[in-house]
Amino acid sequence: MKKLYIIALIIILLTPLGLLASGSAWGEWSLDEVKEMIGYVPEGMSKFAELVKGILPDYSIPGFDANFFQQAIGYVFSAVIGIAAILITFAILGRVMGRVKKKNG
């Protein structure tokens, strides 16, 4: 049981490894990148892009992403916040979802 928490903690602390891969995912470019690639920003794209920026945009703490160390902290912090949000969501869903087990002594 304790081992499981330790594994979870290690996975979370290792997430900044995901920052080492450079570049955007294909098809997830910023408007600047799109402009660089095709020479213009499609009209509809600029209209709807970044409709919701998020509280921690791109898993970083705004203004605290100057170097890899800061980005890594922001990334781990984002992982913790994200997981907490998921657990809270399911705590609520758990009240309305799932079969109530019959009493069987």
Partner: protein, 230 residues
């Protein structure tokens, strides 16, 4: 694979969102039928796992990145309908808190990663089991198929945009590349790298869950793997 807002036309977003309504409805009904209340925390663990796995970007030759999803793993452990809910919650949190994937695009993103991926992955896993392959290997093959199905759907949704939505002069209104570019690009990233990452992650966890002892919290959640019914 998280389509940002502005990449799909509002019409496409509406169609994909509408497609997800019956899927989510059916998922909730099936979960209510198949899972006990005390199993819901496993769905939470699965959702958190999927969320975290998606943070591990892996480099793709050519300067882009991709990541695993964990959809097939969740489908095997929790059942495909519960996997739909778990991955959907992870995708909603990613869109709202981190701007990863659009909010208007949530219908498309959940369709690809939370519906297609777990069901294709689970279907292929079941098929492999029927062909008498070992559980761990079957899960790996299923996971590889599942994530690639999602990548293909993403490429199609993106690639049809310039055909359908452009200005009078032919300039794209939304995503600018056609299918002949989007499909090879997405499939290259997922057939060569991300698919194998998904397969390995899935196989490792299934291997671990099969060995889990009774005192482990995951034991009560891995009954499906031991073929037990509830």
């Amino acid at each position: 694979m998280h389509i940002p807002d502005g990449y799909l036309s509002p019409q496409t977003c509406a169609v994909m969102g509408a497609a997800m309504v019956p899927v989510l409805y059916k998922s909730v009904k099936e979960v209510n039928k198949e899972l006990d209340k005390k199993d819901i925390p496993t769905m939470a663990i699965g959702s958190a796992f999927s969320f975290t796995v998606m943070m591990f970007n892996v480099p793709i030759p050519g300067g882009t990145t991709a990541h695993a999803i964990g959809s097939t793993l969740l489908a095997i452990v929790l059942g495909p309908w519960a996997a739909v809910i778990s991955v959907t919650v992870a995708l909603i949190i990613q869109a709202l808190l981190f701007g990863d994937g659009g909010v208007l695009a949530l219908g498309a993103n959940t369709f690809n990663m939370a519906f297609l991926a777990p069901f294709v992955g689970y279907g292929v896993y079941k098929l492999m089991m029927r062909l008498k392959l070992k559980k761990v290997l079957s899960s790996a093959i299923g996971a590889y198929a599942g994530i690639n199905a999602a990548a293909f759907a993403t490429a199609v949704e993106l690639g049809i945009q310039p055909m359908l939505f452009h200005t009078a002069t032919g300039k794209a209104l939304y995503f600018p590349y056609e299918l002949n570019i989007s499909i090879p690009a997405m499939m290259f990233a997922h057939l060569t790298v991300a698919g194998f990452v998904e397969a390995i992650v899935t196989a490792l966890v299934i291997y671990y869950l099969e060995k889990v002892e009774e005192d482990n919290i995951l034991y009560q959640y891995s009954y499906r793997l031991r073929g037990e019914k509830r």
